[in-house]
């Protein structure tokens, strides 16, 4: 998806919800000029900004990027990219499952504590 398309999607969401760019700025913690640059396609949001927008708008990063047409944030299915992996052993799969659960638990705790 191009810069303009990512910006177009953000614009579409805030218009549908009747939000202003200033309100999105306040909700996401991103400066108003940055929001404007994203929407006009002048700049591409990096991962950190995408996460902030995703949380502020309650939609998935994949949806903002146009990778998914599903706005909802994914459930507990882990997505992983590996370095130097050929075939995963049983032990690796177990370790990944434990790590995945730890991330889910920590994320839930953060949300509960209001840290998110």
């Amino acid at each position: 998806m191009s810069k303009q398309e990512v910006g177009g999607r953000i614009k579409q969401i805030i218009e549908t919800r009747g939000l202003t760019q200033a309100q999105l700025s306040a909700k996401s913690g991103l400066p108003p000029a940055t929001i404007s640059h994203f929407i006009t396609g002048f700049r591409t949001p990096g991962t950190s900004s995408l996460r902030k927008l995703s949380r502020a708008l309650g939609v998935s990063v994949e949806y903002l990027l146009g990778i998914s047409e599903e706005p909802k944030i994914a459930g507990d299915e882990a997505k992983v990219i590996f370095r130097n992996a050929q075939q995963l052993s049983e032990e690796s799969l177990k370790t990944l499952a434990t790590f995945s659960q730890m991330l889910i638990d920590q994320d839930a705790k953060k949300k509960k504590d209001g840290g998110d």
Partner: protein
């Protein structure tokens, strides 16, 4: 019209820009780069795993709203472990990589390395090099270093990076005539050369070419030596680079990397002499040689 199936090409500028953007967002930059602090700032959990727990170097995981990096910590080279974590941060920071992470199967298996052909792995490696060895700081450090293997060792210590990744960065950014060659079992795996070596086409060796016998590295493979063994000597550019536009004797430093029987060779010179200088040197080296002046009159040395 039939669709063409051209694999995407790595956008190394995008990768470098992402790393620079991340560095610029930090309150201050101190060497070596603190990856754990960076990951914490991005709200990414970083965990080490033992060899018996995972059979891959590292991974980036996204689950629910959380992100995590898992890496293998039994690899005895700290720089390699740091490169793996920085590589995974690259997948996180380069937004275009999310299409790969989120595509298809829930677990995307890929291989990497300094010569991976996958565009996103190349970009993540480039990102990691730029993040761990920021260009301007690395150029400054080169200026304050010796030349050849001693320089690479000093840089690796300063940036807390592996000898191999440091050597590649050194070859790419050095203002001197420098090339680095990584070999295994008497065969060349890959090489990188500085811009002035490219100018004389001494920058490419076909993979699996035999290491030149008339080199210190060639003698190392012939005689064998313990891991970590080093040799110093001299070898000719033409022995290594079949396409080199000029030939010249270079200093050759070699170290056995101790992993998978690999060696790192550093070829370097203070400068590449021009043809006139080389002719003068040849004449000086040959006591029987003579030189002619502009009028064609023979002058003895």
């Amino acid at each position: 019209m039939a669709a063409t199936n051209v694999p995407p090409k790595a956008d190394l500028r995008r990768a470098a820009d992402a790393a620079r953007g991340l560095l610029e967002s930090l309150p201050s930059i101190e060497l070596p780069i603190d990856l754990v602090a960076i990951a914490r700032g991005l709200d990414i959990e970083v965990r080490a795993a033992a060899q018996q727990e995972i059979d891959f170097s590292g991974c980036l995981m996204h689950v629910g709203g959380a992100w995590g990096i898992l890496y293998r910590d039994d690899i005895p080279v700290p720089g390699f472990r740091r490169f793996t974590v920085a590589h995974e941060l690259g997948h996180f920071e380069i937004a275009a990589h999310h299409a790969v992470i989120f595509s298809g199967a829930s677990m995307h298996v890929s291989e990497s390395g300094f010569t991976s052909h996958l565009w996103y792995e190349q970009e993540a490696d480039h990102f990691a090099a730029e993040l761990l060895m920021p260009e301007e700081l690395f150029r400054d450090a080169i200026r304050n270093s010796a030349i050849g293997l001693p320089a690479i060792k000093h840089l690796a210590e300063t940036f807390n990076t592996s000898l191999t990744s440091t050597a590649i960065r050194y070859a790419k950014l050095s203002p001197d005539p420098v090339a680095i060659v990584v070999s295994a079992e008497d065969r060349i795996l890959y090489c990188f050369a500085s811009p002035c070596m490219k100018a004389i086409r001494a920058d490419w060796i076909e993979r699996a070419t035999k290491v030149p016998a008339a080199s210190e590295t060639g003698r190392h493979f012939k005689t064998g030596a313990p891991p970590g063994a080093e040799r110093e000597g001299r070898s000719y550019l033409s022995a290594w680079f079949a396409n080199a536009a000029r030939d010249h004797e270079f200093a050759e430093d070699m170290v056995d990397l101790g992993r998978y029987g690999r060696t790192l060779t550093v070829l370097h010179a203070a400068q590449i002499p021009d043809e006139e200088e080389m002719l003068d040197q040849d004449l000086k080296d040959d006591p029987e040689a003579h030189k002619f002046n502009r009028d064609g009159k023979r002058i003895s040395w």
